[in-house]
Amino acid sequence: MCGTRLLHSGPRSAIVGLALFALLAAPPPPASAAEEPGRDVPRDEHGAATAEHQEQVLDKLMPETDVSKPPPGFDPILWAAFIPEDNALTPQRVALGRKLYFDTRLSDDNSVSCATCHDVTRGFTDQRAVSEGIGGQLGKRNAPTTLNAVLLQTLFWDGRSPTLDHQARQPILNPVEMGMPDGAAALKAIGDDPEYQKMFKAAYGREMNYEDLGRAIGAFERTLVFMDSPFRRFLAGDDGAISAEARTGWELFNAKGRCMTCHPMNPSNPLGTDNRFHNVGVSARHQDFEGLARQAIKLLQEDPSEQKLDELAVGTDMSELGRFMVTRNRVDTGSFRTPLILNIAITPPYMHDGSLATLWDVMDHYNKGGEANPFLDGGIEPLALSEEEIDQLVAFLFTLTDVRFAEENQRQLGHQQAVAKKERPIRDEAMASRLTLPFEQRVMGAKSTDQ
């Protein structure tokens, strides 16, 4: 089992919920283009910017570089560790991957590509609670950004994939995402294209195959390194790179907010993730862990394939089991991978189910000590952060955006500020200040320990 440990190293952590939060479970409807001033970009039927538009934006974001070299500032040995031996970065592979990334032919109804949910103009996510696949089907999970995903130890919210090359093949086959029956069907959909035949040959020196398709997409995604944030400059010694408010937020991040334990941020680990899995109680707002777990164990015993796992994780309520679906360890129930927090400001809404609209809501969630449930990570505690401190933490989080997304960062700041001003559904000052304790309402109902 030592191999298992390599993959899921670290303490597993867990959480619990209040029935009244069932009301909050419904994700907010995605804002339409018309409601987003300054975003009059051409869009497709799923609300993503058109591939043509995305590619134009991408060209501006990433002028051509030598992909065989590590990105600026990276130690070559360290960088090499993130590149699989069988998929060294070459211009041919990256070019092929980029073409595939934007190609809707890889979906069963020709409407969805990787870029639909990992949209260049939306922080390489879809900025929706959960993603929309073929036929307008909604999945159960929030699309994580492809930005800097190269540096993650595992992929997907539950870490069920070890590499981008492996990960890229799953959504194409998932019935609620791109809906191809199998890899052969995906290949067939693009196989007549002589350009692809040429590009595959140039990239991998062999006939088109599904594994190379995944490798090429992975290769392209490995070039999406966007880490040049004002905060990085601050860490490098430029005190003026971030505001005084954000600097105080950074102090809170490391101390009273307890953020840095799971989101370590320092020069040698700039991602802000421990690459571990924690139950912070988000799923506890709409969970029946025991019932779901029994169901999952039964279904995965009948069909232990990775495709089945992918289907259950993305398309069913068993999604809420998180890491448990992968390890079948009780302790992993309702726990999800700590997301990286680089560029976090431009990838709302938040959490594995996209249930929190703004970073203010995320602060409210942690400030009240998460959501009590039997698997709640014990490190999650009420924080007693004041409104001013919450603003400072959020100000800090807005400094983690790569400068190339400064405009979107500014737009998000205005937008999230406006939303948070109108509504803070998770805010609970009694919990945050421990007038009501975690688990108290679950155990004592309306009575309190004060009586």
């Binding site: 089992m1 191999g3 298992t4 440990r5 390599l6 993959l7 303490p11 597993r12 952590s13 867990a14 619990v16 040995i77 090499a80 560790a81 993130f82 699989p84 031996e85 069988d86 994939s161 070890p162 590499t163 090359d165 492996h166 594994e211 334990t261 025991e290 777990a293 029994r294 164990i297 039964k298 995965l300 015993q301 232990p304 990775e306 992968v326 390890t327 079948r328 360890n329 009780r330 302790v331 009590a372 039997p374 698997f375 709640l376 990570d377 014990g378 490190g379 505690e381 421990r434 304790l437 975690p438 688990f439 108290e440 679950r442 155990v443 004592m444 320990t449 004060d450 009586q451």
Partner: protein, 372 residues
Amino acid sequence: MATYKSVETRYMEEREELFRGLRNLDRRSFLKVSAAALGAAAGLAAPHSFTPVAVARGAEGPDAEPAFRFAYISDSHLYEKHVNDRFVRGLLRAVDDVNHLDPQPDFVFYGGDLAQLGQVKELELGAQILKNLKAPLRIMVGEHDWYLDLGEKWRELFGEPTYSFDHKGVHFVVLNSVVEADFWTARGMTPMERMMTVAGLDNGLQSSFTVGEPQRKWLQEDLAKYPDDARVIVFSHSPLYKLYKQWNFWTDDAEEVQAILQRFKQVVVIHGHTHQLLTNRIGNIHFHGLLSTAWPWPYAPEGMPELTIQMSRPDPFNPNDGCGDGEVHVHPDGLVDKVYNLWNRNPLVVSRAYTASWGKESAPPVPNRPAY
């Protein structure tokens, strides 16, 4: 000649090894890993094995259905909420756990040290929280509950500390094993000074815990009507054996109590106080410790019982780690499976077969991190 390697060389070698490992984590090894995880899960996890209950039953196969189950919570060490709410949260969490067991246990046993300093308000807070248990409560006293007012408030809330009851053919005995000889009168101590002395771990002032002559006599009489093959489970706050005196993991008249229990074919003793996964067997007596909801103690530096599978070192960031609650599954022969429901860890079961075979069978998995 031994090859000398500098720190730097060793560092570079380790670093290379690490990166090799990272690179090798390709699809094939992932699948292998997945398959291993799946295999383990398939063996462990029969379709209803999600709850700790079922996990424990799985330990001995389907034939080993227990006759009944009870749950336990122990060592909450409550302060008043405005002084310290962490331990209050711990007890609340445990009550929540136990209330969500399905099916509900026959009763819930509380293992003592409900309060931290024996204060009226601490004990009342504990009683108020424990009232929310769905299953009936049986409770034992600990030294932290007792030495402020010598049991006055505790008795008012919970009754006499020494008692016995029968449940489904098993005779349960609850003892007050934290009786200390009077060290306070001669020194002119106030009640609070007495309490603080007992609450202190290692001092030359207090006496040792005992069950004491009157209770031993009571025990003898209480057990008199039960035949040698009766099923008997005894609860004591401190372990009824001598583990480590400096920490008061100790009962001074343990041998005399053991002698009373000796005539039975087998006896189970369940104790609190040590805040850790602890297993021992002395002759016919099988000992099991209880987890605390407040904090885990490290293991005693010497004299650890061989049967104990030491739980791994808790994560200091996670105040719940190493804490928890659990269940006891009583088998028809009177021996038990002890379920340690460790928060944020997988549950661990010390099965009846394990202690019955002196550790030769059904050994629980050894945690993959060092103990302390």
